[in-house]
Symmetry: C2
Subunit: 518 residues, 2 copies
């Protein structure tokens, strides 16, 4: 079998088929339209469920057997526990014991704690992973060792794929910090509280079989129900579903690096000069050290001007919660709590709202929250002179990160990437990014410690900041500056073997990742 390739709208060669399924090449950020219908899962009937609402099974193995676990199924999990997840590995331990083969794992993200699954990729229990592969699993894939092709989607793209029936989930296993015997569940309380369960929403709505696993069973009704029991087939109690200290991300501390602090300050000053920070504005900042610091600078500016933000999109954390409690932010629209202050605030404050990839990011909806946000602060592993961004591979070619909400957030009104000019003496601004995750036309501003580059498409921003005194340069100037210091970087070396596909928010393929040549 010879694979055919076509060139997509960002000039990348894309195979016409991946994992035996036809591929639609990327057609520009708004180019592709479908006339399809949303996926219709099988109609169930109450007659097949216990009238008293008690759907408990004694353990996960019994639940998986009842759900019909068999060869070739697609099994989904969520990543609200991040590196503290104790459930996903158990599913595949059981599958391996049962001799089930060729499963597709469809996590909303994977973490280093899932490295034990490598043995099941090797022994045939798991065929391939569709979902971000942070760390060891990405490295394994990059070395060409996974049988199938990994498929990476943004948070919104994952919802879109499930909603549209591109991915049919046979069994969803939803680890829930609190649940009742009917399957109503939330992430707000219990020993493994993680705040919300939005990443599992699509799974609960569309999967053929839904298993809720909890270490904090409460009597019906579990309130609020972030996951609705009416979508749940089976409930399983377990000793522990997550390691609390690992649920909290290690990245949620403000940076102490002078360079990063300077980038953060420049970013905030740029936003102020551009007129973005005004009463009633909205922003999204991630949980990395630089992004947190930018939030702090935003807070200072808002205090000074006596204004407040109508809403902030999170990843929530102690700093964002503090801003809300100080009256600087009216509402937090939260997709993922990054620390326990985020969890507490969501539990206590009705204006700290749990959201989902459906509300925030799904591109195949009637609008979403992402495009309404005034300014979005994002990271990148690489950017190129056409402002294309990469977030999944390093410059050595290894696939080590997921897309997260990054692609979805590119639809914000102004997208700013504060990034260092080089990392480990490797320039971050390239002639071409190793992997295109987002097209340059959606990326507006690059802020580095040695200057700011504005996308020429954003003449309004160029005009607004031209007399600001800020160190505004062209992206080529920034690139040359980095190369004067570090030398011109060598492109990564790859074999021909495709190890992963990068989906755009609409289900098309924007790029592929190949096996690293050692």
């Amino acid at each position: 079998m010879t694979t055919e390739f076509v060139k997509n709208a960002v000039g990348r060669m894309i195979p016409t088929e991946i994992n035996g399924q036809p591929v639609i090449p990327f057609q520009g950020p708004h180019g592709y339209k479908t006339s399809g219908r949303k996926y219709g899962p099988p109609i169930r009937t109450c007659a097949d469920y216990p009238a008293d609402g008690d759907k408990r099974m004694p353990d996960l193995r019994a639940a998986l057997i009842k759900a019909g676990l068999r060869d070739g199924m697609t099994i989904s999990t969520h990543h609200h526990f991040r590196d503290g997840d104790l459930v996903a590995n158990q599913i595949f331990d059981i599958a391996a014991e049962m001799g089930v083969r060729d499963l597709v794992w469809f996590p909303s993200a994977s973490f280093p704690c899932h490295a034990p699954l490598i043995k099941y990729l090797e022994d045939g229990t798991i065929h391939h992973i569709e979902g971000s592969m942070n760390g060891p699993l990405g490295r394994f894939a990059s070395e060409g060792k996974m049988r199938g092709v990994g498929v990476l989607r943004s948070h919104g793209g994952r919802y879109q794929a499930v909603q549209d029936g591109e991915v049919v989930i046979d069994i969803a296993v939803i680890a829930a910090p609190t649940a009742d015997p009917f399957g109503d569940a939330n992430g707000l309380t219990g020993p493994s509280a993680c705040g919300l369960l939005g990443f599992a929403l699509a799974d609960s709505q569309y999967a053929h079989n839904v298993i809720v696993v909890t270490d904090n069973l409460v009597p019906f009704p579990c309130i609020p129900w972030q996951i609705q029991g009416n979508n749940v087939d089976i409930v399983v109690e377990m000793e522990q579903i997550g390691v609390p200290e690992k649920i909290v991300s290690g990245t949620t501390q403000i940076t102490k690096s002078p360079d990063r602090l300077y980038i953060a300050e420049l970013t905030a000053r740029f936003c102020q000069a551009a007129g973005i920070i005004r009463d009633g504005f909205s922003f999204q900042a991630g949980a990395g050290g630089t992004a947190l610091s930018i939030g702090n600078y935003f807070g200072e500016i808002m205090r000074e001007k006596g204004i407040k933000a109508r809403f902030a999109r999170g990843g929530s954390n102690q700093y964002l919660v503090q801003m809300m409690e100080d009256g600087l932010v009216e509402t937090i629209l939260d997709g993922q709590t990054f620390d326990l202050e985020g969890v507490r605030s969501m539990r206590e404050n009705p204006n700290h709202v749990n959201t989902s990839p459906f509300t925030s990011y799904n591109y195949h909806g009637k609008g979403n929250f992402a495009s309404m946000i005034d300014v979005v602060i994002l990271g990148a592993t690489e950017v190129d002179v056409a402002f294309n961004g990469n977030v999944v591979t390093h410059s050595d070619g290894y696939l080590l990160h997921g897309i997260g909400g990054w692609q979805n957030c590119l639809f914000g009104k102004t997208v700013v990437l504060p990034i260092p000019l080089f990392r480990d003496r490797i320039p971050v601004i390239r002639d071409e990014v190793t992997t295109i995750c987002g097209p340059g036309e959606l990326i507006d501003v690059i802020v580095t410690e040695r200057g700011i580059a504005i996308n020429p498409l954003r003449r309004d921003l160029i005009e607004a900041t031209k007399d600001s005194g800020l160190p505004i340069k062209t992206i080529h100037e920034l690139k040359e500056e980095a190369e004067r210091i570090c030398g011109a970087p060598q492109p990564a070396q790859f074999t021909d073997k495709i190890i992963a596909a990068i989906k755009w928010v609409d289900g098309t393929v924007i790029d592929v990742v190949r096996q690293v040549k050692k």
Copy 2:
């Protein structure tokens, strides 16, 4: 064309086709199973919606034109405003002005305030109504004047029909007491606050075009969002969407009738004797005068025994709210607020939870709340000696009421119907009910002012109450007692023309209603 008929599982003759669509006859309360898929509405894309989230159109006419209003469409509305709805009539005024014909109106219920729509049934703007027809519209249909056949569904059956694609809604118009320009909406605040919008949930999820109409526009984000803007196409501001004093039902006062009070007391004593009122139990009582009074008696018993209910299902009202605030009820799972105390409580108390026909009633889900309830108190216009119940027609044959949640609630663990033995000197217990809305095997106890009849299928209840001293009789004894006083009633006289179908919770047809012969 000759219509064919088949006999269904309760012995009623059912046509094989209604409004040109094939009919599945009732096969017993749990008899029918489908292997179908849920309806998949068209996939939309953010590219077709305003990036800034502002979906406002200047008025309802412009919105209906944008939504593509044309001949033969199905238009849905909700009834949370009850007899104070100001929106539904306007839709058809506009349609009539535009010369649009043969619409199907699919309300979650209609009220006397919708009597002006009779002219559109007469002039061809509306072809027929699918939904309850309380009062004048029911009378109009009963006289054989509606062109199509009315289709009556329970609240859960309506959700089921939309979810399963039996009814495809072309345009849903959702009147919302509070909304933002993106379409996020709730019923909690604003001059027309009605508490919740659960009856419009299916419409928002499955309709091809969704218009939110509000008289209280707030900046994005409207929190909480009971209706999600991601499902909404268009937002329209309007001067007034509902008449507050008519939103509150007139029926929500405790009865002062000595007979009704006695029935209420007997009902509560029966439940106590049967061991139903125990710590952690659950109940559902309607908002009629007798039902409210039963709630009061339950409260007295609970206070006396020092116990509380885990949850109550509403229709909420001041009495139920008081019970929760007094600590007698931990949680209210509310489908419809019947007074402003209900609205206030839902707004303020996280344990007063808004529900929907999906969570509470949908029979084609993975269970629902209705079957978990220990005791359900319901009404009926007629009951027969086989315990079959009627809630839609009077004994003169006129269709004057909707099914509401009545059929759905029959799945409660114990179903009690407190009813007077006769109304206006017409016995309520009949040899055969005029219209079967629910099969006798799901109706457990009939409580009248002259005695209590227990369904022979419930040997456990007969056993538990045999030494209670309560006036327990057979249903035949009660029927004879009524006929001794009032004489044997004459059955209603009908022509052959079918004017309405009564659907069961699973989409099958349990009975039909014919034109009244004058």
